[in-house]
Symmetry: C2
Amino acid sequence: MSINYSKRMDSIKASEIREILKLTQNPEVISFAGGLPAPEMFPIEEIKDVSVEVLEEMGTKALQYSTTEGYKPLREKISKRMEKFGIKMNADNILITSGSQQGLDLTGKVFLDPGDVVLCESPSYLGALGAFKQYQPKFVEVETDDDGMIMENLEEIIKTTNKIKIIYVVPDFQNPTGRTWSVDRRKKLIEIANKYNLPIIEDNPYGELRFEGEIPPSVKSFDTEGRVVFLGTFSKTFCPGFRLGWTCADNEIINKYILIKQGVDLQTSTISQIQLDKFLDKYDIDKHIQKIIDVYRVRRDLMIKTMKEEFPKEVKFTEPQGGLFTWAVLPEHINARDLALKAIEKKVAFVPGGSFFPNGGNENTMRINYSNMDEERIVLGIKRLGETIKEML
Amino acid sequence: MSINYSKRMDSIKASEIREILKLTQNPEVISFAGGLPAPEMFPIEEIKDVSVEVLEEMGTKALQYSTTEGYKPLREKISKRMEKFGIKMNADNILITSGSQQGLDLTGKVFLDPGDVVLCESPSYLGALGAFKQYQPKFVEVETDDDGMIMENLEEIIKTTNKIKIIYVVPDFQNPTGRTWSVDRRKKLIEIANKYNLPIIEDNPYGELRFEGEIPPSVKSFDTEGRVVFLGTFSKTFCPGFRLGWTCADNEIINKYILIKQGVDLQTSTISQIQLDKFLDKYDIDKHIQKIIDVYRVRRDLMIKTMKEEFPKEVKFTEPQGGLFTWAVLPEHINARDLALKAIEKKVAFVPGGSFFPNGGNENTMRINYSNMDEERIVLGIKRLGETIKEML
């Protein structure tokens, strides 16, 4: 039989990252490829404690169906935690999602028709591109530098492009570059979005993992017209296995997301939400996050130091102040996909950067993760990567 | 600001069931409205036990990201359990989903473009209609009787309708009618689908909750060409709060679902999957299901008996051999939405049946759930419903 699928299926391919991640299941491989948090930091004992307590105190409620928007005490706590980012919203502005990846899928459903245009940073988060792609948009990439999107380029594109539906940005420790937008650029983004009446999707999975300095005000914090949708997650600050994230937006927009989520999966796991709520009640998550930061800071320092020592001078890379990734640009004649194949022979993995550019090119780039490997493996892996690059020079 | 959403948002409205369910949060209300399993049957102690054990034995794995397709030992167990339905498939044919509702959403994404036609039973499951609606299809309803879809009507519709993409059916204890298809109809459905090269979506959330007789072979069990997608769930046999379901299909189709799920939410909760797997290892779920069946059978018996005593003779209703619902047809001049408003004043709730007909009409129908109320409340609630109907005769 030949099956007649939807048109979108013509363009959906397996994610390259997923294929590389399969290779990294071999424990001998030193993997800088995924975006995995350090499992040794997971609060296992605390989760065991709250799991038992929730089942003993409110088992039938925790195991039953619940509302689409999510467990209210948890939404209240999240709305308070949003003040970190300069955001004042209440529980009704929060929708609990199955990871922030689901927030991206819901975004596609709420906003995108085939042929619509998504403006994104160049490069941009592969997982968002993959989620949006299922809604058949075109991507137009906006140039970026160390301060974020270049606003002149953004405005020029908006003036000359039809059917722009959303602007998607990751302003804090961007995936894949690790770069953080300046406050000026954030304010300017809102100005431009107001001027041209465009919604902004602000994806912030890493903002709380800041090694130095203060968390800057989010783009959403400058939003006076209710046009910014903020996506957050507990995957990096608590654990990814629970699949708990949230979407925060003003009433009109968040109600659209809730309507869509009803059809998508009815609701996110009741018991997981109540367990996380209990964890936030009984334990100090900010103290826990500080511990994660202390570990990741050491790894970032060591990785950057080793890259400076072991990578040839021709390779440029970012020095992120937080998050999980650094981003390296190789000499133009080196294709990072070829490099990745050679590196995997030496049992080192990373993600070639080309996939993060929705319209292709930039094959001489690489995303390197430092959160998931211990110090010894970071040094060894970067040394091997350096050797491999030198062989290709 | 006026926000420019996707076209699909024009037709997405809040589910009527959700609005009724809000009213039923009042504990005084006797609710036959939801499709909630009996919470007193949830295996709380066993879940506590496996939660602790999973965290102690494999905490870091349970809390980390995992593969999109799902935890392999669980997929293996599910593939074995599918033999109940006469289905011989292996773990690679199973995708773990966030409830079977997600299987419906993925189905929409894999198969439907705007304007495509979904063939469904008349009436059909509201949650499926809601999931598919987000992909902007047209629904064509096929006439049904006590043995399932009427095959002559199905073939006539197929011959005269363009752009049919899928046939969606709930052959076992259908939601909303509680009816079960005959084996002959199942075979005939496959014959017709083969003849006209159409995929079938077989949704089976209730099949294991059979009070009398043997589980009939599923539609999928007669599928020789890999055109049937089977959706299952643990929401009714374990608990809904975990949000664990599965999709089973032959390789080509299941791989499309996996690709789509990557962008949708990366994966279903790792820890929930491992906990359920451990539960299936340590405890006898079939024994547990038997306990649920014994409770629901008593409730079904009592509800049907009380309906026979208390409902006016003009009201016809189904006598399901399993599942959660009976379905009543009122005299034509009685609008069940009006009846629902009057009933809620008497603190009884049910779902008016009109919403289960995607193209409208049939406002004299009602879906009545018997799994979630104890015996005393079933008798009291049906008495009150009977009185209310009599007032409207």
